[in-house]
Symmetry: C2
Subunit: 177 residues, 2 copies
């Protein structure tokens, strides 16, 4: 029976310890499919997904990504075509739509991975120029976010989160719920 989406949302953790077990290509493609069904402003669809499984390339990416921890079996590097975003929607497209579309796509990918028992971690701390060179990206393609993907080595404990009452207001800032 399918788990409720709120359960999956709550059980997704940022995973930084993985076991050495390959992730099937068919699963990785399903994760990308989930990603492309996230909202994309004006249906611009400026994202691209580079799956990294080859060990040499993965290690080189890791060397330039201080935020990438553990030994994930693979990575999904989510990229955006900033030129296309600019052509279709001007600076709004380039500077705002891209930065909304990419994390939303990533979140879909990570939630589906969680449902499948995979661990993921979104990594924003990496050297963009180096990653572009390693993945041989064209100059107009920006690597925006790396998602590590693999089978988790242990159950990561949930971090503390604020209570809803601390962060939610009704109609204006002065009115707590």
């Amino acid at each position: 029976m399918a788990d409720s989406i709120l359960n999956i949302i709550k059980k997704r953790r940022s995973i930084r310890h993985f076991i050495q077990k390959e992730v099937a290509d068919s699963i990785l493609l399903e994760l990308v499919e989930a990603a492309i069904w996230a909202p994309t402003g004006g249906n611009i669809q400026m994202w691209y997904f580079v799956i990294v499984k080859e060990n040499d390339i993965l290690e080189r990416v890791k060397a330039f990504s201080p935020g990438l921890l553990g030994d994930p079996a693979c990575l999904v590097v989510i990229c955006s075509d900033r030129k296309k975003a600019f052509e279709k929607a001007g600076t709004l497209g380039k500077d705002e739509l891209c930065v909304m579309d990419i994390p939303m796509a990533a979140q879909n990918l990570m939630l589906l991975a969680a449902e499948k028992g995979l661990g993921t971690c979104p990594v924003g701390s990496f050297n963009k120029k180096a990653i572009s060179r390693i993945l041989e990206l064209p100059e107009y393609i920006s690597p925006d976010l790396i998602i590590s993907v693999g089978y988790p080595a242990d159950d990561a404990k949930p971090p503390k989160r604020k209570g809803i009452g601390e962060v939610t207001f009704m109609n204006k800032w002065s009115v707590n719920i």
Copy 2:
């Protein structure tokens, strides 16, 4: 029986026509709960959520939000505390973590809403200064994304999406899957 997450991901549409039906506060709080379980870089949790249901305020927000279409019963304005993000993680926090955390939180919110039969639309096109004034936000709080929420008036057709083969590469840009 719960729907599979991939089905929910695919059935979520950006909705711009709503029926006049109130959304219960208890549901809105569940949506916020889903949002706060999205990844947040360094567990900074710099987000705040302003639920707008009062008609006067909703209309004033609409007047300054060209991207906000239809008559949603309510809005969730997702805000970030840029000062806190800067204090905790420097410019990386202010400029990068915020722009990742907010859309990921939004995507959780929109997926749970879709599971509950609600329609949503992420809106990035609005006058930030005006929205800050209307919601009486402190100067260090940035309204980053408006999510309209309501019961959809009709089944929106899915937009065309690219095939996975068009946007996915293996190990480097030159290798299509």
